[in-house]
Every structure is written in C-alpha cells, then in structure tokens.
Chain length 443, copies 2
Amino acid sequence: MEQKKTNNRAVMAQAESESAVLQPSRRSFLRGSAIAAGAAATVGATGGAALAAGNPKHLPPNVPPWSMELGDSVTAEPYGIPSQYEKNVHRRTVPWLTPTGESSISFTPIQDLHGIITPNGLHFERHHGGFPHIPKEDFRLIVHGMLENERMYTMQDIMRLPQVSRIHFVECPANSGAEWRGAQMDKLQFTHGMVSCCEWTGVLVKTLMEELGVKSGAKWVLAEGADAAGMSRSIPIEKLGDDCILAYAQNGEMLRPEQGYPLRLIVPGFEGNMNVKWIRRLEFGDQPWHHREETSKYTDTMEDGSSRRFTWFMDAKSVITSPCPEYPMLGKGYHQIRGLAWSGMGKIKGVDISVDGGKNWMPARLEGQVLDKSLTRFVFDWEWNGQEAMLQSRCYDEKGNVQPTIDQLREVRGTWSIYHNNSIHTWLVQKSGEVLNVQVSGK
Amino acid sequence: MEQKKTNNRAVMAQAESESAVLQPSRRSFLRGSAIAAGAAATVGATGGAALAAGNPKHLPPNVPPWSMELGDSVTAEPYGIPSQYEKNVHRRTVPWLTPTGESSISFTPIQDLHGIITPNGLHFERHHGGFPHIPKEDFRLIVHGMLENERMYTMQDIMRLPQVSRIHFVECPANSGAEWRGAQMDKLQFTHGMVSCCEWTGVLVKTLMEELGVKSGAKWVLAEGADAAGMSRSIPIEKLGDDCILAYAQNGEMLRPEQGYPLRLIVPGFEGNMNVKWIRRLEFGDQPWHHREETSKYTDTMEDGSSRRFTWFMDAKSVITSPCPEYPMLGKGYHQIRGLAWSGMGKIKGVDISVDGGKNWMPARLEGQVLDKSLTRFVFDWEWNGQEAMLQSRCYDEKGNVQPTIDQLREVRGTWSIYHNNSIHTWLVQKSGEVLNVQVSGK
C-alpha cells in the first residue's frame, strides 16, 4: 500500500459523521477484531439468538485506520486491477500437461467466482500455437468458397454490421478429462476450470451468409484461425447460420489477445476449440475438411478401438463450487452449497443435490439468470451436522438431458476417452471440514 | 510485442492446413491490406453486389506474420490485461472538476463499450475521500439501532449467507450535469461516462433484517462507508428491505478496491452515491440523518431557491454511443446507430430514434437482455445520405416514464441543478462525418 497523507479535512469529515463514536487506538481496534473473529467462528449464520453473539454494544468502538486517512486518488489506475488482497485469484497451469506453454491450458479459478460472469482477466486459455498480438488495422477475415459473392472483411467492415450480444459459456472438451480413469486432481480449479462464461458481442455469421449468398449444395464451413497452429474446424452450415457469432467483444470491451483479439468465432454450446480464435477464414464447402483437430485430436477413442468424431455438443454438466478443496467447511451449521450448471443443448432446467453420495436427492434453487447455453448458478441451503458427507450435484436441461454418473458414462463410452466427461462429481467432506475429490463408483 | 521464436512444428502445422496457399512476403501482405482498406472505405455494408468489391480472388494470398511464428505462452499473464492495441480504452478524469483527485471522478469510456456489461477495469469512479485498500480479514460491518438483535459481521459471516446475483447499472446523479446550462463537453465519455453496469453478487439486506429482527417504528437506515469521508446516506427501510444487496463481487470476482472492496451497498436504480462503498455500518432508526451528502450535496437547487431533497431515483435516460464525437461516421450508406438506455424505475420498454433533431421518431430495436434497472442496448439500422443530421434517442420505461427534452426538464427544474439531467441528448452529424455535441432547444 502507498504511504498516506494525513488530512485535516478528512478527519473533520470523519468526526462530523462519527460524532458519537470515540476514536480508538490501533490496539483497541485489533482487540475488537479478535473478539469479532472469535464470535464468527462459533455462531451460526441463521437464527436471531445466535446472531446476537457479535453485538457491537459489547465491543469497543471501532474506527479502523483506513477511515482515518485519505485513500488513493481517482487517477491512480486508468485501467483497474484487482485488490492486492486477491492476488491468489488467478489462472493456473499444470506444467506436466503439455510439452510447451504455447500449446497449453490455463484454468479459471472457478472456486473464487460468483454469479455467472467470468471476468476477462480470468477466462481459461487453451492455445495450440501460442497467442498472437494482432494489430486491429491489419486484420482481415476472408469469407469464400461456395458463395454467390466472396469477400475480405476489415475489422471496420465487421464492426459496422448489425450487432448482437449474448451470454454463453465456452468449455474445453478436455475439462475434467483427467478424472475419466479415476485420476483425482486435488483442486476444483483443475477438475473444472476449463469453462468460462462471458457476454459476447459481434455479428451473427447468418448476417454475412445472407449478404454473400450461400450456393445450393454448401453444407460445411471451415473456420480457420490466424494463430501459428492455423487452428481449424469443420462446422455444419446449419449451426453456423443459426446462433454462431463473429465476436469482437467480451464483457463489454474488445476481446483479450488470448481470447482471439480482434475477432473470434463463438459456436454456442459446441466444444471450445470450435470457437476459433483470431479467425481469418471461413470457407464454405460441401463436405468436412478432416483437419488435424478433428482427426488426431478432439475425437474420443471407444472401448473397441473405434473413434467417435464430430462430438460437438457439450453435455449437461454441473459442479459444486462451495464447498470445495480450496474452500473447506468453516464449521458445523448453516452452509449454502453453491455451484454452476450448464448445457450445450439449451437452458438448465434444474439441479439436484445429494449429501450422501447419490443415495438421496433434493432440488437446488437456480439463482439469478437462467440463459440459453450459459453458466447457471445454483444454491442449496444446508445444515451440516459435522459428520462425513459426500456432496454431489446432478443437472438436467430443457431438452431432457440428465448429467450421468461416472459408471453410466463408462458404460457407454469406455475408459479411453479424455474428452466430454460430464459425469456427476463428488466432494467428500471430512469431519475436519476438509474437502477431498473422490469418485463414487458401483464397480 | 516480445521477440518470437521460429518453430518448425508450427510452420509445418501451418503448411498442413494452408497447403494450397503460397507464402507471401511481408510486402505483398501490406499491399493486400491497403487494397482491402480502400475497398472498405467505399463499399456499403448491405447488398451482395457491393460486398463483392473485396473479393479475395483479386487479392494476393495473405498469410500474415503472426500466423508464421509461435505466439505467447499460456503462462505469460496470470491475470489478463487488454490488448496493447486497446491502450486508448481507459477511464479518464477532468482535472478542473474537483480540487483533488481523492474527491474526484473517472469516467467510463462508454464510446468503446459493447453489450451491457462494463468490465471491472473500466467502471467509473466517484470518491469523496480517495479509495482505501482494506484487508478482507480485518473488515467489519456493524448492523445496529432499532433491531431485536445487533451484530458485527466479518466477511466470512457475510459470504456464508444466502447469495444472490443481479445485473444493475450504477449512475452518478451528476452524469451529464455539465450540460444543464448548455456547457457542451466534446466527448461522449465526459457527457455520459458516469454510468456503468455489472453483475453484482452478495446477500440481500432483507436477509440480515429477517435474521436480526427490525423493531416496529424503524423507518430509515443510515448506510456509512469506511472511507476517509465516512460517506453516508439515509435510505428508506422499504427500499433497503426490497432489492438492496450487500455486494462483495462484481462480474464474477471480488469487488475492485475503487468499487468498495470488500463490501458495498447496491441500491438498484437509486443515485450512485447511495450505493455506499466500503460499507461499515447500517444503523436502523425512525428518521433520516440529514448528513452532509444529503444536504449540502446531492440536493437540487430549484428556480425559486428551494432545494429538492432525497432525489433518489435515477430517471429514464438514454444516449447514442455510435456514432459519437470519438467515433465519427465512416462514410455514406449503412450505419447501425447504437446506444444505451436505462431507468431506475424498472425495465426499459422502448427507445425511439430521431435523425432530424426530434421532428420525426422511429422505433429502435432492444438488443440482447432487457433487465430490471440495468443498462439496455438499443440498435437502429440507418442509411446515411451524407447530409447533416441531428441524432437523438428517447427512451421510456415499463412504468410509463419518458425521457424529456432539455426544455421540458428546465421547465420543471429550472437551470440551477447539476444532478439528474436525464434529458434527450443530440449529436450533430456533419457532412464530413464528424459528430458534435449540440443542444436542441425551442427557447
């Protein structure tokens, strides 16, 4: 923290609004804190009687130092950054995951997030050739192939077109992939941190298709990135002409470099890698391209050695974000179980909670906005009796898709896959309050 | 930009997906850019024929340098920052506005924003004694006065309570204040940049009131900040017990220091200063406190010298954000007029657009989500004929409130006020495409 000036005006202003309160010493303030902290550790959060334990009448007057001196000037930070006390909240990588950082992943700290929006500085990353820094003025998008008219667009062209904004999640299909065969990552950030959710703004691809005129017979579109990997995927034209967005903004401001600045594709509900970043080309054709990222990667090896391909949809999935390994239980009594649910097929319809490893289920409440192909927040009021508990969440979407158990998933998909693990996740709450990642399997 | 390594794997990957495309020199790439830029300046954005002007068949093959070398590693930035090409997008202050930066304002660059979310790094600021940096562990909220039980809360206590998330705007009542008597700021950022909109997460004050028990006769609540100014306002208990939130998160992450970390009040639809930041005290009483910020400040002087007090509600208001002084017209033809509308009384019901200074009006389309007491995005498809035009937007909300002209506002409120100017704003589009801030008055 910077050194602060003392200022008579501020102290006088303080006195004006605090006239009945004595000025305490730093020591009495700290004493006050300690008493309050002690109270907080023992009283529950519900019930009027318990709440009286922290009654301020029994505590010394409490004017902390930051109320006694001027704070920072408005001009200190033109582009704001988080509090110095939240330095622990950031994306994290796993060094053994890939040979180089340019082809790696950073995980969103979803254990620290609230609501449904992921701030831009915390959106997970997955790159195939590192992330470039592209001057907006030099960027071009080529739209060509089976069209009446082909065109090269500048960013000015794109940004003049009719604009839409939609809140959607983006999830890497490898999210929770390490859990397929029972490897248990010891943090929520690593089990489920490859999903994020933003308000995306741009132009519907449909708008470009209507202007350029799609030739009959066109059925597929290749979306290609301008990164060093030339990341590319074949997308069915029905999806592209439905709700796909050429997005230039996330959460109000222009895309971050690692999220595709200045232009990316948003393919709502489809696996993350199809939401091609730094998109430079859309080619219209009559068949898929069978590129690297839809053959050697992003296919799922089945028990008989065959491969599932074009597994685009992200299935109905949920996870409890509080408590979790990073934020254990603080004590017996009231705890609001919180979590996130999402489906690439539509809106979340409901979430059930189990505290006994899936034997009994109770409905959670969906909190805040429930949007199409978006993260949805759920909450569940729980009184913890201090005994071991196995917490699970199970979501279902408006299309009738239900999140499966890991046994149900393995029954259909075997044990070789790393992509599209949407199975029910289990947190073991120990008597100490600690929370462990465990798998509940009948086999 | 950092220096890049060349990498054989990346080049090979590039060749694989780009096999039919020749590798151009840097010079041919730049030539391609110039041609495309020329085309962009002359072709309209609608109509297939015009769109063919940028046909890539007539341009040299186009593989830019950033597709030829590895980008940055995933680990480069644990907490992400905007593109180096967006350095111009930040909050701005006006040095003559207040004697010191600690009691000043920074304006959101709403001319650069899309959708309805304001990213946390760009949320406008208004401080009365600078912004403090408060350790979360040492923070306390005292809730006392006419209650069955009083209590001091730690942040752990607050964060355990049932959680809600809501998207709401916060606007300083002085937003557009300089325009009251006809002073015209020359930038949208300064005419309307004291409004922002975030997803706020926290606990409803109602939850605390139910737990502590409000005594009969309690009618008002004093909300007091822990900043050096002891910023405080009297709030009617009906509002506080309705939709007010003790918020600890904005857009998913913990509040920024300048937005009240670790806890602030959100009073949806009420003037910004009532959304008390760094809130340390809620006192329940039977009458208002008549503190500094509701007597000498945040009252409106009328024509007869009397003062309007407790002018809490932010009225129905809108402004066109594209075009604007910062982003003039790029040329004749299609332009999507875009803007923001909001009301402290409820949802925006509609927005009308005039291109002739208010003589004729046409309905705009509300784009994306339309939420209670939230910014709402509107769009209007316009063909500009290249002649002078006077653009206006006029919104109305679900309660029947209609945004007034400046004449209508002055008729009722006189010319002494600086707060609560929600009048219709006019941009004069000149033949050159430049956009000027003007006032249209019948007087």
